[in-house]
């Protein structure tokens, strides 16, 4: 028995690749093709998600055959009651689906912001019970090798960050947040979830440099540099009020997925009864990173009006409510 020396090689599938998609990320909205977002009903976490997620992903015809995929769930902290973090059943079913779609390797990775004991968090959410052994599948992005990533967007004061090689090197990156309100950002969805790739080993627990740079603007810079190729939001039980940790569970019974994280987040806002145009970072993301205009979002599955579930927000974000 011993630690596995091969781990390093396996953990860096795209080590020799340059930044994945920084150039394709930045396009004015009038030059972007329409985005696609699917809303699927899923009443609770006991159901079999494999078929639902596989069939939905198949509709998107994603270019993942022979590719390495990184799933980036939202693992915030110790969460025995399962309301704070992306549910492991969703992560496991997504992993299985991408493998069925022909991906060579599907990794799971996150860098929790407040607690450096990532393994304790992973165990508390019971991820291993759903996915099987994680030693060669899970990447603690807080302590991955890093590479310098200059920001082309200059939205925040940050000129660059050192970001994990795995997140920058994989072929296909999937943001998998929980549907939550946030006491500083308004909402935390697939764009805000990307804060989790910023390594604690460089910037600490919490990644306070992002707060000082301006949360809204830092979200834009990070998503421009490491834009998720796809987003899957766990909205089966979300969180309203004082999120992302101390809010109230909110049953919503939905999975929201799409090929444009900005459009997915805008759709989530509309489902939550919030105005995406008034979420600062989303409004700005809608000009360069994706679509928030409903006319540019091709909706699949359920329509928004039929699943609308108003979420409470903290006092400072009342202006987001429709």
């Amino acid at each position: 028995m011993g630690f596995h020396g091969a781990l390093a090689v396996e953990r860096h599938p795209g080590k020799n690749l340059s930044m994945r998609n920084v150039h394709s990320a930045l396009l004015p909205s009038f030059k972007r093709p329409p985005s696609h977002v699917a809303i699927r009903r899923a009443i609770n976490y006991e159901q079999d998600f494999a078929a639902l997620i596989y069939e939905t992903l198949r509709e998107f015809d994603l270019p993942v055959t022979g590719k390495t995929v990184l799933l980036k769930p939202n693992l915030v902290g110790l969460d025995p009651t399962g309301v704070m973090n992306t549910h492991p059943a969703i992560v496991a079913a997504t992993r299985e689906s991408f493998l069925r779609l022909g991906a060579t390797q599907v990794l799971i990775g996150d860098g929790p912001a407040l607690d450096r004991d990532t393994e304790a968090i992973v165990e508390s959410v019971r991820l291993r019970e759903f996915t099987g052994p994680l030693a060669r599948t899970f990447i603690d992005l807080n302590i991955d090798d890093v590479q310098r990533v200059p920001f082309e967007t200059h939205a925040s004061r940050l000129k660059e960050l050192y970001l994990p090689r795995t997140a920058m090197g994989v072929d296909f990156l999937v943001s998998m947040p929980k549907l939550k309100t946030h006491h500083w950002a308004g909402v935390t969805l697939s764009l805000k979830n990307m804060f989790g790739i910023v390594p604690g080993s460089c910037y600490g627990w919490p990644k306070n440099v992002l707060h000082w740079a301006g949360i809204d603007r830092a979200i834009l810079d990070i998503n421009a540099a490491a834009r998720p190729d796809f987003a899957i939001v766990d909205g089966i039980i979300g969180m309203e009020g004082n999120g992302p940790i101390q809010g109230t569970p909110k049953a919503c019974g939905l999975l929201i997925m799409g090929d444009d994280p900005v459009a997915v987040d805008a759709t989530c806002c509309r489902v939550m009864g919030l105005l995406p145009e008034k979420v600062k970072y989303l409004a700005q993301a809608g000009t360069l990173l994706g679509h928030i205009n409903p006319e540019k979002i091709e909706q699949r599955g359920e329509n928004i009006a039929s699943v609308r579930t108003p979420f409470a927000v903290v006092e400072g974000f009342r202006y987001l409510v429709e």
């Binding site: 390093a8 407040l114 607690d115 450096r116 004991d117 165990e123 460089c202 400072g316």
Partner: protein
């Protein structure tokens, strides 16, 4: 049993993971970084007999000296041009080598000159008029250290700086060190969660009590081990002992054991077996976790001076 596991798994792992440049990455084969090198060195320095690992230790020291920036700080990764919180870790471990005294003194000076940005007089004045001033109870006149320059004070980097100061001979510390130490200790007590223990540094968020976490609690307790009779220490140790049964992370367990040992507390026999914990995820191949396990179970030498010993 735990000592056997550490001897047969953690030690070989740690020793075989050293890079040719003398440093350690966060995982075997990864680029050498300051933080994992510091933890690996602490573990090797406690090896018995140390002569067997002397070459490895000298290599580690060499890597750290080479990694130091011209302003005295250490960066978290090799190509970064600005120093950060790992400066405290580097100073702390380099105190074990006499030849590194100038490097340590430069690092200590950098630490003393690095003030957090959230607690400047100007910021404190602005906060008086802020609409969310009632949401936080913390006293901003107390100042510790941030993770990176120009940010806020947090529990762990403040604790690391206090430990480095506490282990250092007075002649390597700048004149301002005592003042920084007093302010930082006051900050840590102020940031304790209601009921004991610490999280990253938010005892209250939007009026709701913050939940403590094991690792920040351990570092804060170790940083203030020369005040073992304070009520905050007793409350926090009790919190730590209370939650041990539910701790799932090997890093948290190892650090909790180090902390309780330091305060002369007993380690409960009912905690998880490290071998079982290892078989779950192989500790994600983490060098710091392996080093902490070696320090918690693998040594007869006192790594940190005990809280019950009188300190000079």
């Amino acid at each position: 049993m735990e000592a056997d596991f550490v001897q047969s798994v953690c030690w070989p792992f740690l020793q075989s993971a050293q890079n040719a440049d003398g440093g350690w990455g966060f995982h075997p084969g990864f680029v050498s970084r300051v933080e994992p090198t510091c933890w690996a060195l602490h573990a090797l320095l406690q090896a018995s007999p140390p002569a067997q690992v002397e070459e490895a230790i000298l290599g580690g020291f060499r890597f750290l000296r080479m990694a130091q920036l011209s302003d005295g700080a250490w960066p978290s990764s090799p190509k970064e041009k600005a120093g950060c919180w790992v400066t405290s870790l580097a100073c702390w471990v380099l105190l074990s080598e006499k030849g590194s005294a100038p490097a340590v003194a430069a690092g200590m000076k950098w630490l003393c000159d690095d003030w957090p940005r959230d607690s400047t007089p100007w910021r404190r004045l602005l906060r008086r008029f802020s609409s969310d001033r009632e949401l936080s109870t913390q006293n901003d006149s107390y100042r510790g250290w941030g993770w990176t320059p120009g940010t806020s004070s947090w529990v762990e980097p403040t604790s690391f700086a206090l430990i480095a100061f506490g282990e250092s001979p007075q002649e390597l510390l700048p004149p301002t060190a005592n003042r920084r130490r007093h302010l930082a200790e006051a900050m840590l007590y102020d940031r304790m969660c209601p009921g004991g223990g610490w999280n990253c540094g938010n005892p209250r968020v939007y009026g709701v009590a913050g939940e403590p976490l094991v690792i920040p609690t351990v570092w804060a307790l170790l940083a203030m081990r020369n005040h073992p009779d304070r009520s905050e220490a007793a409350m926090s140790l009790e919190w730590l002992e209370r939650v041990l049964d539910n701790v799932q992370g090997p890093g948290s367990l190892a650090l909790a054991r180090i902390c309780l040992q330091c305060y002369g507390r007993k380690w409960p026999s009912a905690t998880l077996s490290m071998r079982d914990v290892y078989q779950r995820n192989e500790f994600f191949g983490s060098i710091p976790v392996a080093a902490w396990l070696c320090l918690a179970w693998g040594s007869t030498v006192h790594w940190l001076s005990s809280a019950t010993q009188e300190r000079t």
